[in-house]
Every structure is written in structure tokens, then in C-alpha cells.
């Protein structure tokens, strides 16, 4: 019996679970969100973290033991032991915290945390932790023994409850803003934060019902779609496409400025990432200073259109954009020339140097009379659909006779058009002669050259076109914000763009969009986590790379290569 429990392994899982739980407590995630409800009056976000840790512990322990046994009792018992260990470690933290003042060093080891952990019962409530841990882990493990459909049902219910609980505040604001029936529904479903109990029950009901119906009828629907004649299917596809387009067009009008702003931000990164994708995804040139071209585009538009002190031309946005794109393109080629002969990681670090040099120059007092230094370029004229009045004097915006694209709800359309355009260009480039030359360079520079690819020309075109896309993104950024500061041009932006491409899937155009949605969109929606956003961001990067190194939506070629590389790697004693 004891041997069957595989105590050593179970203890290890329990210990890791306990360490994760203690980490979450000490880093402040439990304490800070101790009052923030996921389901009002039932569970707070702080407790949810711990609950999920215990569920995870139970899940891993259960999965591991199920490989060696089929007995339900042993499975549940093992998971319970793991949960017990993890819970006891938390209890240990509470006891230790009551004996020693941990707070002198660790900011979040506060009495509030201990009271949250013991549900307000003080030291007497410490036993709740191991007991609760064991119970939750055991329940999770018993859920593992259920038939597959029931497991899926539980999982999806959990996911929906969590997602709605997390986004409740955001959804509520949006729905109440819409007024009428929507507002009533919002008040019924959501509290100021988190779901209401009734809302949670309703969610469970709807998820369960729809899953059961789908499992009964889903097959029939799918086969009926497949049975449609080609014209019918095409019609269906067109209808879906039309629906998507319609949603995209009216979205900012119904969702309000916040969502529009988030989408515009995603769009800016999509533009930049599509540009870098030409260099990195297609041609394999890693550029860590990409923000330089974003900055060049933004400053060009800023200087040309600003009515503030630094404005030099007082042009309209539409006249300035082509110039900005052109300037970025030239800058891309010029910065590309010196690094033509540099390869691999050296290229990454050289371009990183370029990016930093541009930022430092813009920030410096030396160029302040022209670029504004740390105070930036202010009072950038908004784009105007119509005619623009004459320039009067510094600080007074020019009058727009027509529709002024002020605010994210209007810039939204601008960015959508730009993104569609750029995606189209990128897509056509990929299949062009130039695109194939890039891919040849990515695979092997020397072989490509031997086969007659003009390295200099192809590489410079990659740098130039990529930079032009980034310049366009910068130009739109300048009119979105209305002022530009060197602080928006951090190395962080370049790193983000690389991450968007790699997470989305190298060289894949839809991948870039998915990557931007996940890496730029999600963190924007989690504003309330402010200081923890980058913690999650880092964890998500690591997790994605460990589990899906080819990216979320990989291009077919890269995926095939990775599989091959993996096979070779695991068969050799050690790879190169």
C-alpha cells in the first residue's frame, strides 16, 4: 500500500505546490487581491490563486499516479497527501510569520495576509490550510476519474467562471453604458467587481446546457455544413466574413473609447510586428533596435504637423505620413548598410545599440532645441478629413473644416485600414521573388549567395521595408497620443515586438495578429493588476516557449522544421 502511493514523488509535487502557494502569498498576489471578489461574497481573487494552486497540485499528483495505478482510492489518497503537504507549508508560513517579524524584509508578509490565509481565525485557524489543501486536491483527483465529457464540462465551467469573474468590472461598465436591457442584465450578473452569486449560477447553467446540446447536436450541424454544395459553403464563408467585417466596423461605436484604445494599441504593434516579420520572420535578421524606426516615424510626423513650439511645417497629417514612411525607409536602409556583414546574435546586439543611440539622442539636451528633449513634441495636429484652416500661432490647433479624427474611436479606423494594407503587402511580398530570396537567406546565407541571391539588395530591402512599416506605426502613434516623448521609445518596445512575432509564430502573418492580441491586448485589459502585469507577461513568455516553441499560429514551414529539429535533437547524444 505504502509503495503504491509513491510517497517520494507525491511529496515532491506537494512541496512544489507549497512553494508556488507561498510564492504567490509573498509576492503579494494573495494579499492585494484579498478583497477583490471573483464571485461576490463567495471567493476573492486572492483565495482563487490559492485554490488554483491546490487544484494544480491535485491534478499533477493525480495524473502522475494514474500512470501506475487504476485504483480510485489510491489516486484520491495520493492527491490528498500532496495537497496536505502544500497546505501544511502555507500553515508553516502563518506560524513562522506569527513567531518572527518577516515583514522587516518581505513587504507582503503582513498580518492581513495571515488573517486572509486563516479566514480571520488567527493561529487557531491554521489547521484549515492543510485540511483545505488535501480536500481540494482530492476533489480534483476524483474529477480526473470521471468520464471525459464530465471532465471537459467541469473544466469549461471553471474557465468561464474565472474569465467572467476577472473581466466583470470591465464588462459591467460597458454593458451599463449601453443602457436599457443590457444595463439590467449587467446589474444582475456582475457586482462592482466579480460575478454575483446569481450570475455565477447562471453562467454554470448556460455553459453546462450549451455544452450538452453541442455534444448532442454538434455532430449533426457539422455534417450538415460539410454536406453543403460548394456554392453554399462559399456563401456561408462570405456570410461569416461579412459578419466579422461588420463587427470590426461598428465595434468602437458600441464599446466606447477604452476598448477602441486597446485595439489601436494592438494595431500599432501589429504594424510594427508585420514590419519586423519581414526582417526576422522572413529573412531571419534579428533586430532588437526596431523601436528606432517607430521613433523616426513618430518624430517626423510630430515635427511636420505639430502646431506647438517644435513644429516646423504645420502640414496636415495626410501629407506628413508618406514623408514619415519614406524617412523611416531611408533610415532603415542607412542603418542596414553598416550591419550587412554582421550575423546572428551580433546583429541583435548591434541593432540594439542603434535603437538605444536613437533614443539617447532624442532624449539629450544636445538636440533639445529641435526635438524637445525629455519634454517631447507637443500639440500634434489631429488628422482632418476635409480642409485644414491656416496656421495662426503656436499652441492653437488649426481649424478642421470636415471630420476631425480626434480620439481613439476614429484613429481606430485609420489603424484598421493601415493594418489591412500592410498585411496585404506583407502577404504579397512573402510569395514574391524577394520573399523567396529572404527565406533562402534565413535558411543559409552562404548557400543563398551561391544560388545567385543578391544578399546586399535583399537584406537592405528587408531593413528598409520593415522600417517603413514601423514608421507608419509611429506616425499613427503620434497623432493618437497628440504628443511624443522619448520615454515611449524604450528598448522594451523592440523586445515586445520580437516577443509578439515569436509567440505568434515566426514568419506567419495571422500569427503576428494573434501574438499582438495576446501580448499587447490581454495586458491592457488587466490594467487593475498594474504592477503584476509584467510578472504574468514574463511567466507567459516562459510557459509558451516551453510548451509551444513554434508559436500560437505557426507558419507551415517553420512548424515542419521545428519538428525535424526536435527529432534530430532527441536522437543524438547531444545536439549542436
Amino acid at each position: 500500500m505504502l509503495q503504491q502511493l509513491r510517497l517520494k514523488e507525491t511529496l515532491r509535487i506537494g512541496l512544489i505546490g507549497g512553494i508556488v502557494a507561498i510564492y504567490l502569498c509573498l509576492v503579494g498576489l494573495v494579499g492585494i487581491f484579498g478583497e477583490r471578489a471573483v464571485i461576490g461574497g463567495v471567493i476573492s481573487l486572492g483565495h482563487t490563486w490559492l485554490l488554483l494552486t491546490m487544484v494544480g497540485t491535485g491534478y499533477v499528483a493525480g495524473q502522475k499516479i494514474l500512470k501506475h495505478t487504476t485504483s480510485p482510492i489510491i489516486t484520491v489518497l495520493t492527491a490528498a497527501i500532496a495537497g496536505l503537504v502544500a497546505g501544511s507549508m502555507l500553515a508553516g508560513l502563518v506560524i513562522l510569520g506569527n513567531l518572527v517579524n518577516l515583514r522587516a524584509v518581505l513587504l507582503h508578509a503582513s498580518p492581513r495576509l495571515y488573517s486572509l490565509l486563516t479566514f480571520g481565525q488567527g493561529l487557531a485557524g491554521t489547521w484549515l490550510l492543510p485540511a483545505g489543501g488535501a480536500m481540494i486536491a482530492a476533489i480534483t483527483a476524483s474529477a480526473l476519474l470521471l468520464p471525459p465529457f464530465a471532465r471537459r464540462l467541469l473544466l469549461w465551467n471553471l474557465i468561464w467562471l474565472l474569465a467572467l469573474g476577472l473581466f466583470a468590472g470591465l464588462l459591467r461598465v460597458q454593458m451599463v453604458g449601453a443602457g436599457g436591457l443590457m444595463a439590467e442584465a449587467a446589474r444582475f450578473l456582475f457586482g462592482t467587481e466579480g460575478l454575483t452569486v446569481a450570475g455565477a449560477l447562471l453562467t454554470v447553467g448556460i455553459v453546462t446546457l450549451s455544452m450538452i446540446t453541442w455534444s448532442r447536436k454538434g455532430e449533426a450541424v457539422r455534417s450538415r455544413i460539410e454536406a453543403l454544395p460548394p456554392t453554399g459553403r462559399r456563401l456561408l464563408r462570405l456570410a461569416v466574413l461579412a459578419l466579422v467585417v461588420a463587427i470590426v466596423l461598428i465595434l468602437p461605436q458600441i464599446s466606447g473609447p477604452f476598448i477602441a484604445q486597446v485595439i489601436v494599441f494592438i494595431g500599432l504593434y501589429v504594424l510594427m510586428a508585420l514590419g519586423l516579420n519581414l526582417e526576422l520572420g522572413f529573412a531571419g535578421l534579428l533586430d532588437l533596435g526596431f523601436v528606432a524606426f517607430f521613433a523616426i516615424g513618430a518624430y517626423t510626423v510630430g515635427l511636420l504637423t505639430s502646431v506647438g513650439y517644435h513644429g516646423i511645417a504645420h502640414w496636415s497629417f495626410w501629407a506628413a505620413v508618406p514623408i514619415a514612411v519614406l524617412v523611416s525607409l531611408v533610415a532603415g536602409v542607412l542603418l542596414g548598410i553598416p550591419v550587412l556583414g554582421i550575423r546572428g546574435d551580433y546583429l541583435a546586439i548591434a541593432t540594439l545599440g542603434f535603437g538605444e543611440i536613437v533614443r539617447l539622442l532624442v532624449l539629450s539636451d544636445f538636440l533639445k532645441p529641435w526635438l524637445g528633449g525629455s519634454q517631447g513634441v507637443l500639440a500634434i495636429q489631429k488628422p482632418c478629413l476635409g480642409t485644414l484652416g491656416p496656421f495662426q500661432r503656436v499652441g492653437i490647433p488649426m481649424k478642421c473644416y470636415g471630420l476631425e479624427l480626434a480620439g481613439p474611436q476614429y484613429i481606430y479606423y485609420l489603424i484598421i485600414i493601415a493594418a489591412v494594407l500592410v498585411a496585404f503587402v506583407a502577404w504579397r511580398l512573402r510569395d514574391s521573388r524577394l520573399g523567396r530570396a529572404w527565406m533562402a537567406i534565413r535558411e543559409d546565407e552562404d548557400v543563398a549567395e551561391a544560388l545567385g541571391v543578391n544578399l546586399v539588395q535583399s537584406k537592405l530591402l528587408a531593413y528598409g521595408l520593415g522600417a517603413a512599416f514601423a514608421g507608419l506605426s509611429g506616425a499613427i502613434f503620434a497623432v493618437l497620443v497628440g504628443s511624443i516623448f522619448p520615454h515611449s521609445m524604450q528598448l522594451m518596445v523592440s523586445i515586445n515586438v520580437v516577443a509578439v512575432i515569436v509567440i505568434g509564430g515566426m514568419g506567419s502573418i495571422p500569427g503576428v495578429i494573434v501574438g499582438a492580441l495576446v501580448l499587447i491586448g490581454l495586458p491592457e485589459l488587466f490594467r487593475e493588476f498594474a504592477e503584476y502585469r509584467l510578472l504574468f507577461y514574463g511567466a507567459a513568455l516562459i510557459a509558451t516557449m516551453l510548451t509551444r516553441p513554434e508559436g500560437l499560429w505557426p507558419s507551415a514551414v517553420i512548424q515542419r522544421e521545428l519538428r525535424l529539429a526536435k527529432k534530430e535533437g532527441s536522437s543524438a547524444i547531444s545536439g549542436k
Partner: protein, 351 residues
Amino acid sequence: MIEKLTDWSITAFLAAFRISVVLIVLVGSTLILLQGKYTLAHWLDFVVFGITVGSIYALIALGYTMVYGILRMINFAHGEVFMSGAFSAYFVADALDKSGFLDKNPLVGLTLIILFAMAVSTGVALLVERIAYRRLRYAPRLVPLICAIGASFFLQYTFRGLFGPGLYAYPAVEALRGEWTILGVRILKTQAVVVVAAVLMMLGLYTVVMRTKIGKAMRSVSEDKEVAALMGINVDHVIVVTFAIGAAMAGAAGVLYALIYRQVNFFMGFIPGIKAFTSAVLGGIGNIPGAMLGGLFLGLFEAVGPALFLEGLGIVAPYQLKDAIAFTMLVLVLIFRPQGLLGERLAAKRA
């Protein structure tokens, strides 16, 4: 025809680039020397400061260069390993200072602080290696890089979560107040201690790599992993040891850095990390003496460069551009001597 034209214009552009850099350097330094704004003592101060900072960069750069030599990966989280040592050692330093121990036995106290920082840094680096890097040994080049960037954020914000976002002031060591004059050169005592400690540490490392069995194993693994494995070397073990040694150096560098700048913060590792990688590349990556030289070089240029090259040209506030000088130098070295100052020690073709 067009190809010839592009070739010609590229050559012209590069030549113009070289000439303008040389001109800026020559004209700037002649002008400032003619102006006589700074005396010899000033220049010596700059040089001493440059050597101090440079030796810290060199210590951090060792970790980059060793890991790169063996795994061919930029360990982006190395700057955070440096930060973790300095940050956690702050609490030891603070406790020692408050109890009065640090002022009574400065040498023992400092050694204790440095040892603690080295231990923490090593622990953090090994955890990162175990969790984030080990499974990616055979993945394409970019995958571990992104993973390392993720680890870097994760560590930064973990420390922010654990200890808070504020700046913590490192205690001043009483015995290190004031300055010494060696051969007519004034040196702050802290600077002297930092340089001596860094040099001792580097000598130790060099002996380990060149003279011991594990050092030999490390060198052979960086030469060729497969053959090393066939020779009975436990490659995984060597990689772990490499990470540990590099991290220990970074931890020590963290304390030395804190001794000079006197404050720690969760974000402090980012810039020195990038500078240290720059030093590693400058010296020729994978090359241990190269990393040391690259660090010193970078520190010197940063300290002397703004005054020497830029101020004479009438540029306002040239010190804001010291990082720009460092990066310009990096780009120049990469363009005109891509294998670094001392040449890289990489067996396989990098691509």
C-alpha cells in the same frame, strides 16, 4: 550596372561613416585639450572611475561570455541575476550595519555580504537554468532568447513583489570613507576596494578555467559538446557549473556596484546587464580575457568619452550621451572587427 552602383555607394557610405567618426574624435579631443578646461587630475579621476565601473562590467560580462561560449545563447536574465544578489545582500548589509558589526570588522563584514550575494545569485541562476533553459537545449536560437527575456521580467517583478518598488540605500562602510593617493593618483577607497576585489575574482576564475579539471571540461564542452560527451564529460553537469560560476561573479559584482552607487532597486540589473553583454561582445564573445578587457574598455570610454570627444564640439550636457558613446563604440567594433578585440573563441560557425 545597378549592382555596381549600389556597391560603390555602400563603400562610399561606409568610408564617409569612418571618416566622420575619426573626425569627431580628433576634432573634439583636440579642441577640449586646447581649451584646457580639465586638468590632468580631472582626467585621472575620469580614468580611475572608468576602470572601477569597467571592472564591474567585466565581472558581469564573464557570466555572459561563458554561457554564450557553451550554449550559444544570450542569457538575457543575467542582469537580473546580478540584481538579485545585490538586492538580497542589502538586507544582510543593513543588518550588519545596524548591529555595528560592519564598522568594527569591515573586511569580514564585506566578505560575508559578498558571499551571501554570490550564493543568492547562484541559486537564482540555477533555478532559471533548471526551469526555463534546460528543456530548450535543442530548440532554435530565438526560443531560448525569448524565454530568457521572459525570465528577466519574471525575476524583476518577483523582486519588486517581494521587497517593494522603492530604492534601498546601501549602508556606507566607515573604513571606506576618504581616499588614498597612490603614485600621485587620488583614488577613493571604495573604488580601490572594488577594483582589487574584481581583479582577485577574475584571477580566481581564470585559474579555475585554465588549471582545474572542471575548467578543462568547460573548455572542451564549449569546443564541441558531442565530442566532449564522448570523452566522458557530463555535459549537463558542466553547463550547470558554468551557470553557477557566472552567477557567482555577477552576485559579487552586484555588491561592488552597490558599494559605488550606494543604492539598489528591482530594476537596477537591466542597464548594467546590457552594458556587460556589450563588453563581452567587444572583447570577443566566448573569450574570458576578452570579456575582462571589453569591460575595462567600455568603462573607460564611458567615463572619458563625453568630456574628451563631445564637450569640445560644443555639445550641451555631454554626460547624457555616455551610453550613446558606449553603444557607438560597440557598433564600430562590430562593423570593423566583428570578432571582437581579442577574437572570439567559438569553434562552430555562428549563424
